[in-house]
Symmetry: C2
Subunit: 463 residues, 2 copies
Amino acid sequence: MTGALPRMFRALGLFLFASLLAAEPADWIWSARYVITMDDARRVIQNGAVAIRGDRIVGVGSKIEIDARFQPRQRLDRPDAILAPGLINTHTHAAMSLFRGIADDLKLQDWLNRFIFPAEAKNLSPEFVRWGTRLGALEMLLGGTTTFTDMYYFEDVVAEVAKEAGIRGVLGETIIGFPVADAKTPADSLRFTERYLTRFRNDPLVIPAVAPHAIYTTSDETLRAARALANKYGAPLIIHVSETKKENDDELAKRHRTPVQALESLGLFQGRTVAAHCVWVNGSDMAILARRGVGVAHCPSSNMKLASGVAPVLKMRALGINVGLGTDSSAGSNNDVNMFEEMDLAAKLQKVTTLDPQALPAGAVLEMATIGGARVLGLEREIGSLETGKRADIITVRLDRPNAVPLYDPVSQMVYALKADDVRDVMVNGKPVVRDGQILTLDEKLILSKAAEYGMKVKASLK
Amino acid sequence: MTGALPRMFRALGLFLFASLLAAEPADWIWSARYVITMDDARRVIQNGAVAIRGDRIVGVGSKIEIDARFQPRQRLDRPDAILAPGLINTHTHAAMSLFRGIADDLKLQDWLNRFIFPAEAKNLSPEFVRWGTRLGALEMLLGGTTTFTDMYYFEDVVAEVAKEAGIRGVLGETIIGFPVADAKTPADSLRFTERYLTRFRNDPLVIPAVAPHAIYTTSDETLRAARALANKYGAPLIIHVSETKKENDDELAKRHRTPVQALESLGLFQGRTVAAHCVWVNGSDMAILARRGVGVAHCPSSNMKLASGVAPVLKMRALGINVGLGTDSSAGSNNDVNMFEEMDLAAKLQKVTTLDPQALPAGAVLEMATIGGARVLGLEREIGSLETGKRADIITVRLDRPNAVPLYDPVSQMVYALKADDVRDVMVNGKPVVRDGQILTLDEKLILSKAAEYGMKVKASLK
């Protein structure tokens, strides 16, 4: 009882003080039982709120403070939810969702040569990529992913879909050493990429990127040209690196260098780079990645399912390398684009393979899925945490289902107990795109029926 | 066109033939786009159906056949779903859901001694177990689990809740070498267990079991008495075996025998046994398990999270040992009781640790979660597949969400793409218990609020 009166006066004082000032305008206030900020202090605010104006966060704090300070045009109160930064998928091939489960439990080479490459050769078109990316974007947004990093073909179409869906994308056109659906030669791809970089420059949602596939599929000359092109436009470069032991063994046999060493000698890391996988990197490789500030996209589900191996995530993090999480594609290497599963898997995989239950705790994993992922993409000033001045990429996650109770620690709950399906609302760049589990920007029914139709076509094409 | 007329005549003929016979009565027909039977031939029936009378399946086949043959009182048609046997969780401690996430990312001994044992000592009561098991049963049923294997305290209360919830349970009262909430001594537990075995004998849902905790927590004398008691009542015995390296090292130091060898010399495997974990078993151990027909509950999530190690699932299966899947508890060792996640993890963990992407394919994993789990429990004549004469334990799983399309292979989709939340309907022992994602047998709202209340009490008790 003794504390109740002073508390009441303090709240009243705060209210009066706020009323004396002209309340600041805001487009939205979103409030929730817990706000996980992922700011530098890793604040978790009980009964917290976020104020949004335009595409930016203008205030983060207790609900009482935010309500006193801002006059919102609209509000969303979720007293039984967590409010958190949107999740960041640092590596995927979204359109491949149309190949979901086309060929599981196969060796990588069989999977590529018997299924994926023929299926792509026979089916890829701008419309295939459009519907596949819509399906992927739908699944990602409903599951709380607000930024995805993509490498595929017809990437201009992927960018169009990202804008339509309202999802943020770091999107790279694949450059690869054999004829593909949208380019006969790597030179064609480079020309395509330059037009694409120009077209989407300064887009609020799309960060166009250059994506040479890997050292074993792209010539040295093309790799150098890709880097030069990326640097000319200040664009990030996305590439697969040291995914399999075979890739490492082949490069060692051919050049007496690991893939990382070979790429370093080509100057590929001299600029913003996102390296996917990095499973077979050794100490010298990691030193290069750290020195060059290369961001690593760790894809535990893909590395497990394709039996690629276990990336040395703890060592990379200890060396100060930024490591994010990626789903890889829904075709064979994973069968969904579910960042909650990647968080859970990342933690558990490091624990069991190091035999240390304290390895990669929940906080570290949530960091990889948010602000850490933003660092991997070079976007840490814009996204990845709930802080004033950042873009408003925000999710709410339900706490009113059986798997969410009781709750002892909101961060642990996010990583180990909550699921993609518990995501209730999603805002990207200040715009609500999912409300109460329903997508606002895409035609879900149509996408599902189109996806089923493409599935039948793909099936028929492989007979 | 040429095939259409004969097909029409065949269907008509079948219909007339069926009409000539008196149609057999059934309580239910459940139909779906795919029926995954898990019978010996592993039939997957497109546009299939199952007929149910009382607590048994009376027919499985194409929808046309089943509709022609049976006259059901009620029916459930799910043209956009998979119909499959209910999932079988071979190892859990359901009531511990009230400790969900109480202490993550800790060493097993810290977790037990600093959190679980004190929390249990201060909080365990029949009512705690009642509400905790209700929460666990709710989560399991909503996620498609129709049978769970439990080891905890106040197991008579667990059995009461199983009957109330309408979930099948192989439920063992823990017998352990120190004073616990419901027994001062192991002799007390044995007496309790005998009364409990008598009370639930011949129950349609509850299979009462005897559950000595482990070789390192229970005296040899008590282990022998537990086996004798189990055999007197024809009850299964549940025990943790070779979960951690420490357990193995300690037994080797003490007895110059592995836990399996020591248990064998005590005669513990001379009768129906479910051994949980079996992570550190060697060749000689596996030979013993195979010879004695011991069923193994593999718990990938728990083994990963607690960094216990990786069970040699492929070797055990190659030796003919029955291996099922278990979630272990929601407190620390896992943070949910989600069999879809265990399926996905089991496959991926074997692949990455053997570096073989073909290891433990989807079909093998679904087997472990259904008919394989039934064999582990000695219940393969009653449950685990959709076959005439078996108990009607059936689930439907939605195919109308983004993560379910396209669909190339229903079995692969079940294991790698579908989630616990996609479960739509559940029947146990002929009785619908979940309908359209809603529990029919329990008060969900009340359970969630009680769970939150217990969470606060537990938190306060640890201060």
